[in-house]
């Protein structure tokens, strides 16, 4: 059989190279400036940063300390407060398990939100099995939680509140400054952790202003390499957590293991660039996002944005295309990397729990597409994607019995379906 020919012809304009990467919440391309900063630490400066007695070690250590400063500057903290990890999953695990373990004599209650990343939720679930109590707050329809909601859930046993800065699926930005202030007003000893992975380097975030004690970040969401993250751990007043990885006592005993110097150098450079260029980049990305949003919604009806449009990462757009199943749309967009909240794209065969927590109906959750615009996307790419999305949705709607019924004025909720 000959290769299947697409029934939709959308020609990529000059200057647009396929495939297009528009999935910048999953990861980002490494900025070439970052790659150049890293290379010498693979080739010439390959020393172990923990080697104290020769120049190879000193060079590596100096590079690591420089990177700590670059990352701390992005977060508004001090270089000594950076604990390197393998990534954000480990940073979230360390923050939550480490704090819970250290503070278990003070209390056993943790508060988080239903829309957090799995590395927070599953860590909390494990702690529940070990005897901790966890409150999972439901967000409002726009994805936001309020400081009042959090304070109302706090008890004298609450030792930790973990609230993400920005959500990875819908890009909703939580009011972390108001949340931090409210937590500390209720109980200054209660720790505040934020998973800042999606927000750091994209929107203004300052550990002092947000009164956080622990903040997780990772390099590969900000045009740095994969395999390196960090937990920012407050020193004043000193926040103490138990390690989850024991060994040589690296990172002030909080995370043992030889430091991956090239990755750390890359992380530092990525953070430095993000800090310098964030303001301009945010304006540019929001313009691209508006272009994408208007381009799609001006041509298609029955589309629904998931999550607050106002409190949102500039590069995020999450839309449900009613009556078109998400995975089938991803197939049509095969030259564009985006992702879907459809069950068919997940290992669990359940639609996105984030969308469900926002009260998005299952039938709409199955039809959602997440667009993640980033540093290297262009107007021309967005225009191509608009045309492809519009034509693909129109085609798939002609195949959809639900679209036909909707056009005929049939209320789908009145039909006796056969769930399977």
């Amino acid at each position: 059989m000959s290769a299947a020919k697409s029934p939709i012809e959308v020609v990529a304009p000059e200057g647009v190279q396929l495939p297009i990467f528009m999935d910048n919440h999953s990861t980002t391309a490494v900025d070439l400036r970052v790659v150049h900063a890293m290379l010498p630490f693979f080739t010439n400066h390959y020393g172990n940063a923990a080697s104290r007695n020769h120049s190879f070690g000193w060079t590596a250590e100096a590079a690591v300390e420089n990177a700590r400063g670059q990352i701390a500057a992005l977060l508004g903290g001090d270089a000594k407060e950076i604990v390197f990890t393998s990534g954000a999953t480990e940073a979230n695990n360390l923050a939550i398990k480490g704090a819970a373990s250290f503070l278990k004599k003070q209390g056993n209650h943790i508060i988080t939100v239903e829309t957090e990343h799995k590395s927070v939720l599953d860590t909390c679930k494990r702690l529940q099995r070990e005897g901790f109590e966890v409150t999972y707050l439901p967000p409002a329809k726009d994805g936001l939680v309020t400081p009042e909601q959090i304070v109302a859930a706090m008890t004298d046993k609450t030792i930790l509140v973990s609230i993400m800065l920005a959500n990875n699926e819908v890009g909703v930005v939580q009011p972390v400054e108001a949340i931090g202030a409210a937590i500390k007003a209720r109980n200054p000893k209660c720790l505040f952790h934020t998973d800042a992975v999606q927000g750091a380097g994209k929107i203004p975030f300052d550990v002092e202003k947000a009164k956080v004690d622990l903040a997780s970040v990772t390099a590969h969401k900000m045009y740095g390499p994969k395999g390196i993250g960090a937990l920012w751990v407050r020193r004043k007043p000193r926040v103490r957590i138990d390690p989850i990885i024991d060994g040589g006592g690296h990172e002030r005993g909080m995370r043992s293991g030889t430091l991956p110097v090239p990755l750390i150098v890359g992380f530092g450079k990525a953070a430095e660039i993000a800090k310098a260029e964030m303001a301009d980049e945010a304006v540019r990305l929001e313009k691209l996002r508006t272009r994408l949003y208007k381009g799609i919604t001006s041509k298609l009806t029955e589309t629904y944005v998931n999550g607050s449009m106002e409190h949102r990462l500039p590069g995020n757009l999450n839309i449900s295309f009613a009556f078109v199943e998400g995975e089938s749309l991803l197939m049509a967009l095969k030259d564009v990397a985006v992702s879907s909240g459809s069950a068919c794209t997940s290992a669990s065969l359940e639609p996105s729990y984030v969308l469900r927590a926002l009260g998005v109906g299952e039938e709409l959750a199955h039809t959602s597409i997440r667009f993640g615009l980033g540093r290297f996307n262009t107007d021309a790419e967005v225009d191509y994607v608009i045309e492809l999305v519009v034509k693909s949705v129109e085609r798939l709607r002609t195949l959809s019995p639900l679209w036909e019924m909707h056009q005929d004025g049939i209320d789908l909720s009145t039909i006796q379906w056969t769930p399977h």
């Binding site: 059989m1 290769a3 299947a4 020919k5 697409s6 029934p7 009556f323 078109v324 199943e325 998400g326 995975e327 089938s328 197939m331 459809s342 069950a343 068919c344 065969l349 639609p351 109906g361 299952e362 039938e363 199955h366 002609t398 195949l399 959809s400 019995p401 639900l402 679209w403 036909e404 789908l412 039909i415 379906w417 056969t418 769930p419 399977h420």
Partner: protein, 129 residues
């Protein structure tokens, strides 16, 4: 997920899309199966047109992933020209084999089998009196 060529072909060029409703076909000749649920992420509607005891034509529309669209498209091709009894014997494993569906997509083939059976049942119900 890497799909087989056959799935891609049926997805890109689905066979027999539509409904007999708009074709001025005598409703007595038609049996309709509507299976699945929007909340589960797939709904198939498969229609058969029966003449002289044979399935003369079949049409479908599907809301679902690429495998679901391909499974129902293939199902309409398979049953054309069959008797109702022959069509009722089509099992999901035949669709799985023909399309090379991965294990996680087997439920799509089950839904297509259900859609065929539901359409036959609907036709028989109409003619039971």
């Amino acid at each position: 997920m890497a799909y087989s060529e056959k799935v891609l072909d049926h997805y890109e060029n689905p066979r027999n899309v539509g409904t007999f409703k708009t074709d001025n076909v005598d409703a007595d000749e038609v049996g309709t199966g509507l299976v699945g649920a929007p909340a589960c992420g797939d709904v198939m509607r498969l229609e058969i047109r029966v003449k002289d005891g044979l399935i003369a034509d079949a049409k479908f529309k599907t809301f679902g992933c690429g495998s679901a669209i391909a499974s129902s498209s293939l199902a309409t091709e398979m049953i054309k020209g069959m008797t109702l009894d022959q069509a009722a014997k089509i099992s999901n494993t035949m669709i799985v084999e023909e399309l090379n569906l991965p294990p996680v997509k087997i439920h799509c083939s089950v839904l297509a089998e259900d859609a065929i059976k539901a359409a036959i049942e609907d036709y028989k119900k109409k003619h039971a009196k």
